[in-house]
């Protein structure tokens, strides 16, 4: 039974920003359908919804990138138009996009003041004033790093801070944070939350978009749920349970997020011993059995992805032994890894997993064109499509046809295309790096089911994940990594979020 969302009728403080009846259509898709939304001064309004719910479209309308087909935008009660991003900024609406918009070669200070440099007489930039201002602004956010630091060398979290500081220098009253916690660690998120708290205290109006519902509860005052382009609910977070939120998001009850599976590991499929890569990996040793998922947990930068890359032949290793099904092998490039029937589903699907400009069919056959034609060098398009069609059906990939470009698919369906590519190579050792990042709740469960099907067929899986519930729910064994080393092995079913986090983060205490 899904609870009916109520709307607040009590008198409320005036809205800084209000959207009324906003609609936006794209060919074949209604991205937003009559959506209303309001934002008050001194509140953090969290926007949640599955992928494709319309969050990104809403953000793009608010930041002046898209124009709505219908509806109006009111700022302080007056209707405004946002014909382009510059206009939005002039009106005090600043957006920190998921893909950060900084100039990598310039330093933090110059980025913060880009286009608003303090001037001396005669059109000369007042550099001392610029860096003084930058330092002051960073300090106001509780940050102490040097504004002379080049942006290129900064981690994602600090780049985000720079963007926020830049928005404040632009005198933003409305700050939109689009998935700010997607690419940063838990600690960095906490730091971000403290800054958001501080800005809220100063009366800023903040829209916070996140996939993580925990984020909503940590930082949000009110939450708005979108589903399939429609407004589902706007509620104070205090009165809403996670269960309700998920139900509103998916429109159905989620009974079992992590499907059960029989636990029956077979012989060792992959054994790694004494793997070293200078400054990155130290004495990595582990084994994965057929029918088993080994989870690699750890903070961002602990070296989990690097383990997968090293074994898969992407990064050169300094020393170490790899055994596949009991046979010692040497792997120096991905091609050799694939010949030993390994598969890598990378963290960054769009950059490393798929050729977005190419069709589903072309992506599926990419790694194993020999499977679709016995003639050397030949890969007939008809066979590519018929091969892909098999996987589209088997994996339930939602696409109008195998000829559709993969860029037009949602995250979950893109992940399935990557998986189909490796199923065609008949891989039996899989590295899943953040398998459900950027994938909506419903599709996540499907990915988990597919992983279980692989296990049932005797595959061995190494899963890297930053989502602790996922690591705990899916892994038979958990290896915790810290600073390029495996520091602990835990039994999946008995491990807890606390035990994993403590091991993963312990280094900080030792160093400090």
């Amino acid at each position: 039974m899904i609870p009916q969302p109520l709307d607040l009728t009590a008198p409320s403080p005036p809205s800084v920003l209000e959207l009324r009846g906003i609609s936006k259509r794209f060919p074949g898709v209604v991205a937003l359908d009559d959506v209303s939304f309001d934002l008050r001064a001194g509140e953090v309004h969290v926007l949640v919804g599955e992928n494709g719910a319309g969050k990104s479209t809403l953000v793009k309308i608010l930041s002046g990138i898209y124009q709505p087909d219908a509806g109006e935008i009111l700022l302080d009660g007056r209707p405004v138009t946002l014909p382009d991003p510059h206009a939005a900024q002039e009106l005090g609406i600043s957006t920190v996009h998921q893909e950060l918009n900084l100039v990598p070669h310039l330093d933090v200070g110059r980025n913060m003041y880009l286009g608003r440099e303090p001037m001396r007489a005669g059109g000369i930039i007042d550099w001392p004033a610029l860096y003084r201002g930058a330092t002051a602004q960073l300090a106001a956010l509780g940050m102490t790093f040097d504004p002379h630091t080049r942006v290129r060398g900064l981690g994602v979290a600090l780049q985000q801070m720079t963007e926020i500081a830049k928005a404040l220098i632009a005198e933003a009253r409305v700050l939109i944070l689009d998935e700010p916690t997607a690419a940063i660690t838990a600690e960095e998120s906490e730091q971000l939350f403290r800054i958001v708290d501080r800005l809220r205290g100063q009366g800023a109006a903040i829209v916070f978009i996140s996939h993580h519902l925990e984020d909503a509860y940590r930082i949000g005052d009110r939450v708005t749920v979108l589903r399939d382009g429609k407004h589902v609910a706007t509620q104070p977070l205090a009165g809403v349970s996670t269960r309700n939120l998920i139900q509103w998001m998916v429109g159905r009850e989620l009974t079992q997020q992590f499907p059960e599976r029989p636990h029956a590991p077979g012989p060792v499929a992959l054994r790694v011993d004494g793997l070293n890569r200078q400054g990155v990996l130290h004495d990595i040793a582990f084994a994965v059995r057929q029918g088993e998922i080994v989870g690699l947990a750890g903070l961002v930068g602990a070296g989990r992805t690097e383990v997968a890359r090293a074994v898969f032949g992407i990064d050169r290793i300094d020393s170490g032994e790899i055994e596949v099904h009991g046979q010692k092998v040497r792997i120096t490039n991905p091609n050799e890894a694939i010949r030993h029937r390994m598969a890598l589903l990378p963290e960054d699907r769009k950059q490393q997993g798929l050729v977005l400009l190419l069709s589903v069919a072309d992506n599926v056959v990419m790694a194993a064109p020999g499977k679709i034609s016995s003639l050397p060098g030949i890969a007939p398009p008809g066979r590519r499509v018929s091969t892909a069609d098999r996987f589209i059906e088997a994996l339930r990939i939602r696409t109008p046809s195998a000829r559709q470009r993969t860029m037009n698919l949602s995250g979950g369906n893109q992940q399935k295309v990557v998986l189909a590519k490796w199923l065609l190579t008949e891989a039996d050792i899989f590295f899943f790096d953040e398998p459900t990042r950027g994938i909506d709740v419903g599709a996540k469960v499907e990915v988990y089911r597919l992983m279980n099907e692989l296990l049932a067929r005797g595959a061995a899986i190494v899963m890297i994940s930053s989502e602790l519930p996922e690591v705990l729910g899916m892994s038979d064994r958990i290896l915790v990594m810290r600073e390029g080393r495996i520091v602990a092995e835990l039994d999946g079913p008995s491990a807890t979020q606390e035990s994993v986090m403590t091991l993963a983060a312990a280094a900080e205490e030792v160093v400090a």
């Binding site: 898709v29 991205a31 990104s56 400009l357 790694a367 939602r398 909506d440």
Partner: protein
């Protein structure tokens, strides 16, 4: 059963086509990519027709096709290179090397025609191989490498001949004119050669792994490498194909001029790149077609032919061609914006 509307999770994405589009298998985007240049070609031709009756005569069209053929052959090779995200600035110089090799073998060494033509193609392919090896093994951007080899190959052609043209090849090998000046069944031989090269190029691009990976490398080299594709091997092949096209163009031009000239085809690379770009291929790689390139080469030839018929000076023609290149990219940009 799958209709675009089923894809509820696609946010703000381009769809394969509007509801009225009856061929779900073929993306409208792919067609409109070549449709733009094609419509421009038709409109321009009709316009020129209203100005000059003779423009629409079959003779004039054969003339246009012949004029387009040299650029089209280079453009076909260039399409492969640009699809991988590369570029080859040395093709004009490769044409000169091929031409000079042919002239020297026939006139100075007394070779007969067929072996000489084969060597001209090989010379082109070899130049392409050199480009490809430096690009892949040295990991140097193609722009820089071919900017260098453009000078190297041109210098080679000049040095081999001491800067002097080699005239009157048909005096020794009378049959050598079949590649450039003769008509076969009423069709100029360069047009036939171009048609053959086009068919081969089309088949490679559509039906082979090389074709698949040409698009894949240009679309996302990293993802392609992570799929186990031996990137260097395919890149190398593409530059060799480009060199071979330039070799063929060299044979055609040497036959047409009945002489081997070390200064020939100066700037031909820019015309070839222009044909590719006008034909809708992205300079960033990953998307485009050879059909588009052929249309691009035809469009350039039509402009030159039509303006000549209208007694517009060659200088003005240059201005118009330049404007068309920019216009083509502008239209492409607008098309993308509408699609996105």
């Amino acid at each position: 059963m799958s209709q675009p509307a089923d894809v509820g999770t696609v946010e703000g994405a381009a769809q394969p086509g509007p509801r009225w589009w009856p061929f779900p298998g073929i993306q409208l985007g792919t067609i409109s990519q070549t449709l733009g240049p094609l419509i421009s070609l038709i409109i321009l031709s009709l316009l020129l027709w209203t100005q000059q009756d003779v423009f629409m005569s079959s003779n004039n069209w054969l003339n246009i096709a012949r004029q387009a053929s040299f650029n089209a052959i280079l453009g076909i090779g260039m399409t492969f290179v640009i699809l991988t995200g590369g570029v080859d600035l040395s093709v004009g110089s490769i044409v000169a090397v091929s031409s000079v090799v042919g002239g020297m073998l026939i006139i100075n060494q007394g070779w007969s025609m067929w072996p000489a033509v084969l060597m001209m193609l090989l010379a082109g392919g070899l130049c392409g191989l050199v480009n490809g090896l430096i690009i892949t093994l040295g990991r140097i951007p193609p722009f820089i490498v071919t900017l260098g080899t453009m000078q190297v190959f041109r210098g080679l052609a000049l040095q081999l001949t001491n800067g002097q043209p080699i005239f009157d090849i048909t005096k020794v090998q009378p049959e050598f004119d079949i590649w450039g000046t003769r008509n076969l069944g009423g069709v100029p031989s360069p047009v036939i050669i171009t048609a053959v090269v086009f068919v081969i190029g089309y088949l490679i691009l559509r039906y082979t792994r090389l074709g698949l990976y040409t698009y894949a490398i240009g679309g996302n080299e990293q993802a392609t490498r992570f799929s186990g594709v031996k990137i260097n091997r395919y890149k190398l092949s593409v530059y060799v194909l480009m060199g071979l096209s330039a070799g063929i163009a060299g044979v055609m031009l040497t036959s047409r001029l009945n002489s081997a000239q070390p200064n020939v085809a100066n700037g031909a690379e820019l015309d070839a790149i222009a044909a590719v770009v006008i034909g809708g291929t992205s300079l960033f790689g990953g998307e485009g077609t050879i059909v588009g390139t052929i249309i691009g080469a035809l469009l350039m030839a039509v402009i030159r032919n039509g303006l000549t018929l209208m007694h517009v000076t060659a200088f003005y023609q240059q201005i118009v061609i330049g404007a068309v290149i920019i216009l083509a990219v502008l239209i492409d940009r607008l098309r993308r914006r509408n699609a996105a």
